[in-house]
Amino acid sequence: MEARFAVIQNTLAEFGCLSPSTAKVVQFGDDLLVCTGSDEVFVFNTKERKLTAVLHFLSPVVHVVQSLDKQHFFAVCEGDGIYCVDLPTLPSRPATPPSDQSPGPALFQVLSNSLAARDAGVCSMVEVQGASGDTLVTVSQRDAAWWFSLYTATGYRKLAEFSLPVVSGGHRTGDGGTGLVMRPVLACVSSRDAPSSSSSLVDCHFLMETLLFKLLFGVDASFVNSSVILCGLPDGRLCSFPLHLQGQPGPRVRVLHSLEQPITFVGTSTETNSGPQCLVAVGRWGRVVLARACEGGPGDGGKVAGFTEGCVSGPVLCACADGKGLYYSTGSDLLVLDLSGGAEENLSPGENLVVGHGERQGPGQAMEKPRVSGLLQSPVSLNVCRVIALSGPSCNTSGQVQLLALTLRGRLQVLTLPGDTEGGATARPPSSQVGQRVRDLLAAIGDVCDRASSLNSIIQSRNNSLRGLNQVLSVCCLLLANQRAGEHCSVSEKPIWCHIVAKWSRLLQKDSLILTCVLDNSSPYVLEQGWMLCVQVLPLSCPLFSGGENFSRTVSFPVQKLEPSGKMNVSLPLITERDMSFPVTVKCSLTYSLQSLLGTEELSGVLANGDLASCPGLEGGWFSLALNTQTVDWLDVLQVVTPPGSDPSRPCSNPDTVSMDTVKAFLSSRRRCDGYGDGMAASEGDLLSASIKVSTELLRTALSLEAPSSAVPQGPKNPTQGICGALLSWLLSKGSAGIDWRGSGVTAGQQGRAVVHARCPEGGIVKLTATEVTVGGTTVKEGTKAVEVQVQCSEMAALCGLHHALLCRVQPLLQGAAGTEESSIGAMGLGLRLALQRAQALYELLQEARIPNAIGPGRNTGRTTKTLFSVYRQLRENPLLIL
């Protein structure tokens, strides 16, 4: 049905991306003025086919109008006023034909001395010819009214000003929320009989047959041959006022019609043979109104002005009209609508028609007749997309219609429409045109391809985002379920888990304690980019010098991509410059930022929206899911040393340095002990010591060792170690799975005894001894076998910490064995609790004693010493037995 026109697209130049509301192209003799919506206007010469000048204005140019004498042009600058720029004086044209080294465009700064009229609210303007000098007509918006101002074209003296109140509400000013501001459209209409109408017409100037002119605008304007200014307002009103008509009663500005949508174009279709001339107004959303002179109704007879309304599919970005019809662009296509079709039988049934809304009164004798049958035919596509500004139409030498078009991407094009459209669909084009058509079709295909590829990439990225979001949601569900299940579910049940191990390593000739976290992903989901492993190190007690403030730090490691059953190893130094006090709690969590999914801008938009920001746990687009928490205590941070002469193949560290360190540690501990002032010896024999006793039976059950009756002891790691060795190994390795090198530091002595030498982080010497003893007393029955674990240490703090750690380790043992061991109830439990409480109290005492020491050395040494000594004594007096 639709005749496909092959439009020849001839690209002249390219500019940057344009703003669709203000882009304009104006033909100016051989020059084209291109206004892109910025504060620059480009002058393009069509003969030389190059950019000859760039005019830089002080503020954004929203409209460009050619002057009547074609010597200069007017630029409407937003928030400023109207500038008049003389064109011939601007570029000094090169006399020689353009060569390859032709100079680039000249840049001209338009200064405020070219300002013709200052009016901050000015939106649009038009220049009108008159016998006694030309007139500038501007429209501006201020104080809730549209102001039409008349200026003389020479001297720019304001002649008159009249207003039309702004109609508030009821119309959409924006373009569906994209913030497109519509501007009024001005046009100047003269009667064909008017004497001044003989001159050639420029943009926005139209001639109208006298009858229609009189019907639309009244006879008065026709009496004085006055031009009429038509203005299409963004609120949809099409209003008019005669330019030279003074002292007439009534308001000067009259509303002819209302389109009820922003008006994009006002013009006339010049008279053709096939139909009468008409006035055309096109609304933003596709409403087309035609005004024609037609026969009145049966009651009145005579001629009346009839308004016909029709609809095309919008949005209409720009339009122009000639005798053939109305050319308009919807952004995705350029279409031509035949206006000349007076034959009403051409109406196709599928056409979208809007019938007039009852009788309305026009001015003068113009009475609107609602016409049920529309005169609109269906538009024909020209297959040119993204046109946002049109100029013309003009006819070239071969009678073809040419349009100047500016596309959204800033491409300036000449569109040549085939001249003969009647036979175009059936007649075979001459062979010379076939090539051209193929080229055009290819260009059109290319355009469509461009669009398709950009759409494809958008779809791709959306899909990726969705996939990512799905993964994230699954992981979230898993981890939340874990959190709900609590900490008591075993490690193997947790699909995503973090192993935390503290170990010593040697870096730059210095031993340092490194916390190693292994993120184990045994879930079926991939941890994508955007996830972070956060490790928070939180000391249980605060260090002294931080003044009671809890000193914690958090380190985040971005997860690159962790496949199912993959592992990620991260490590961080545990001992910082500031003395870390043990034990510390290490909390691992996985966090996810929406930013990686949405991008920064979108995220800030979403957050500003307030929907997400109010969700708990989503501050700043982050949410965090806890993995597990572990405590690193004194036992974990002990640096096990092998006494000289033991297994040299141990991979831990160079024995020489270790021994050196030991010596150093010894010396320093000695020095510190000297500080107490009472001459306490600090040799190995005089180390501070504390001990606990644990029932052998309990240990065997807990460590799942076999009874000593079996000939060959089979400990989990070192079968030769016996129960004592096993206990020490367990203590040092925390019973966790995997190879623990520290266990090898345990030296099994004679039967029933094992010793571990170690250093604490501050450098003090630690000796852990496990001995099998037989105890008897009031609370337990005689001859109970037990293992005594003795902690010997040169430093009081370390001793207390170790003791505390020992008790903490053993406590779960007791709990675990409680169900199986009948004997571990009653007095023994009580005793244990008492012992634990005592240890806690001692630790607090010790911390207190350290405070004065930290404030200033040498103060209150006596009291500190006393306290420490009492702690020491209490520790020694109450050996613990755990059954």
Partner: protein, 636 residues
């Protein structure tokens, strides 16, 4: 508490700095302070000097130059003010600052930046209050000013500056039409006037006594006393206009006659006289009012509103000749390039239009546009004697309308010229009256050609027609019909009866297509009245033409129809008597004569357009002959 702390700190500092050093530093600061003060004062004085020089040069400065200078002065004083306000206020500085604010505000008037001026003014006053340790400033303006006057009035150096600013604020209130504030502060403003007079006297005495004023005192761009005088008179005018619009003429008169200020500008005095005249004319004393208007014109020749008001009074008194004279005077005055005259020379610092923005005043003193005055003049001339003059005026009017020059620079929405076709018809009928039938024919032809192609074929109307959309279409018919009628009159005038009859017929044919449905017995609207009168006229005139063509039966029919349509058109009754007589129906003629003589027709209202009046120089009936015949017949 804080004070005591500060005291302690100062004490401590004094103790530490051991006297000598401290004094030295303070002295240094004071030195530089006064230097700056002098510098700023000189800067201010330079601005004022430059402005005054320009004003003194008078007309040699163009308006644009004057405006540019004022803009420059505004910006320069604004900058200076900003610099000064960057320093904490001290008494000496405040004195300068008040003077600079005074100048700045006066400059701002010409830039129409009133709100900015008001803000800076109150800000400066607050700073001044701060300088005399009066911190709290009430938001209410009159209360604020009372506080300011009380706080600063005691300090002699600040008192005058503060009073000058009160003048400026007064001007601001006038310009924003806040008469309430002025009324509230009436007492203060009165005492301000007295103080300024005294100040002026003191200064004169000081100058006479040869006392040198200190060289660096800040200069003012306008003498506050002059400003005060115009403010005072403007206040009177604004208040009187308000009263007058409310209908309280007596109170307005009292206000206006209270204290004449002979030194005030001429235009303001003329306004006072005009308003007094308005009061008097509204109180029913037109003669006294005319005296006032004359006084106003004597005071200021450009007081056109007085001239316009006197025209209205003459019209009311029925003094047509005086009215015509005044109209032609007003028209020639309006046509004088007075507007460009005011554009010459530098603009005044404070123009009266700025001080008198009230709508009531402008509506009272409004003057119609020159075109509407010209139309009025032409109409009066044609109706009252001097037809040839009227014709000339009409032709001038049409020429002015045809030219696309915008004569009135202001918007004239309320101007009352009739529609253009009506003007053409009026001009055409005046041409006919002036014995220029050919020109009349041409003008009518223009109307017919313009309206002919848009005429409705039939028109069915319902009363009332006015205001409805049908009015336009009915008017078209009326205009076209009237044009035919006038053309026919022309041929009748030329005694060319055949075309006259055919044109009358065309007119009648046009009119009978209009069918008016009378709904109620309410008074007919203007349009319908015109339609009936036009129909009656056309029929009567066609009848007369038929009679001249010796078609007596047709003549009788038309005259009868005319009497039915609208009685009394073109002496239809008398002509019918004549026709009947000529037909030999003498009895009927006598009855017709009797009824015509006895019936008293209502006089035509003033609103009937000229072109619908009875044709003056058409075919005449020898009335004395008819009367003699009739009286003889009735006797017998």
């Amino acid at each position: 508490m804080r004070q005591s702390n500060r005291g302690k700190v100062q004490k401590l500092r004094r103790e530490r700095s051991q006297g000598f050093e401290e004094d030295f530093v303070t002295a240094m600061f004071q030195e530089s302070d006064t230097c700056l003060l002098d510098q700023w004062t000189e800067e201010n004085n330079a601005i004022v000097k430059k402005c005054k020089q320009h004003t003194d040069r008078g007309d040699s400065v163009s308006r644009e130059q004057g405006m540019q200078l004022l803009t420059w002065a505004f910006e320069a004083s604004h900058k200076l003010l900003q610099i000064i306000q960057g320093v904490p206020a001290g008494p000496a500085l405040v004195q300068l600052e008040l003077a600079v604010v005074y100048n700045f505000c006066l400059f701002s008037f010409s830039q129409t930046k009133v709100t900015e001026a008001e803000l800076l003014l109150t800000h400066s006053l607050e700073r001044a209050l701060g300088a005399v340790h009066c911190v709290h400033s009430p938001p209410d303006l009159p209360v604020f000013w009372r506080r300011v006057l009380k706080a600063l009035g005691s300090t002699s150096s600040l008192r005058s500056g503060c009073l000058h600013l009160l003048c400026v604020h007064w001007a601001l209130w006038l310009s924003t039409y806040s008469l309430g504030h002025i009324l509230e502060l009436q007492q203060e403003l009165l005492s301000l006037c007295e103080t300024l007079e005294e100040e002026q006297d003191d200064r004169r005495k000081a100058v006479e006594g040869g006392v040198e004023r200190s060289a660096v005192s800040p200069a003012l761009v306008m003498n506050p006393r002059e400003l005060k005088d115009s403010l005072h008179i403007c206040t009177v005018i604004a208040q009187a206009a308000e009263r007058l619009c409310e209908g309280q003429c007596l109170e307005a008169l009292k206000l206006l006659q209270k204290d004449p200020c002979p030194l005030a500008p001429r235009d303001l005095l003329a306004k006072i006289h005009t308003l007094t005249g308005l009061c008097l004319s509204r109180m029913g004393r037109p003669h006294s009012a005319v005296q006032c208007y004359r006084k106003a014109l004597e005071t200021d020749v450009r007081c056109f509103s007085a001239l316009h008001q006197s025209i209205l009074v003459y019209r009311q008194l029925g003094n047509t000749q005086a009215e015509i004279q005044a109209l032609s005077l007003l028209h020639s005055a309006l046509m004088m390039p007075h507007i460009t005259q005011t554009f010459m020379g530098p603009p005044p610092l404070v123009c009266t239009a700025f001080l008198l923005p009230g709508k009531s005043l402008s509506s009272l003193l409004s003057v119609p546009s020159s075109l509407s005055v010209l139309h009025c003049l032409a109409q009066k001339c044609v109706l009252h004697g001097s037809v040839s003059e009227g014709v000339e005026h009409y032709l001038d009017l049409l020429a002015a309308l045809q030219s696309d020059q915008q004569l009135s620079p202001v918007s004239c929405e309320a101007s009352s010229l009739p529609r253009l076709p009506e003007l053409y018809l009026e001009a055409a009928s005046s041409l006919l009256m002036g014995q220029r039938p050919v020109d009349c024919l041409a003008l009518c032809e223009e109307v017919i050609s313009q309206t002919g192609d848009v005429l409705p074929e039939r028109l069915q109307l319902e009363e009332p027609v006015e205001g409805s959309g049908d009015q336009n279409r009915l008017e078209l018919v009326l205009w076209c019909g009237a044009a035919y009628l006038l053309q026919a009159h022309c041929y009748a005038h030329l005694k060319d009866w055949k075309p006259a009859v055919s044109l009358y017929t065309q007119c009648i044919n046009l009119l009978i297509k209009v069918c008016v449905i009378q709904k109620s017995c309410a008074k007919q609207g203007m349009c319908v009245q015109s339609l009936q009168r036009l129909k009656g006229l056309a029929l009567a005139c066609r009848g007369i033409s038929f009679l001249h063509r010796e078609q007596k039966r047709e003549a009788l029919r038309d005259l009868q129809l005319s009497l039915q349509a609208a009685p009394g058109c073109a002496g239809a009754g008398l002509w019918m008597t004549e026709v009947l007589w000529k037909l030999g129906r003498r009895q009927e003629a006598a009855v017709c004569w009797e009824t015509t003589q006895s019936s008293s027709l209502p006089p035509l209202s003033e609103d009937v357009p000229i072109y619908l009046l009875d044709p003056q120089n058409g075919p005449a009936l020898d009335l004395t002959d008819l009367r003699v015949r009739m009286e003889e017949f009735t006797k017998t």
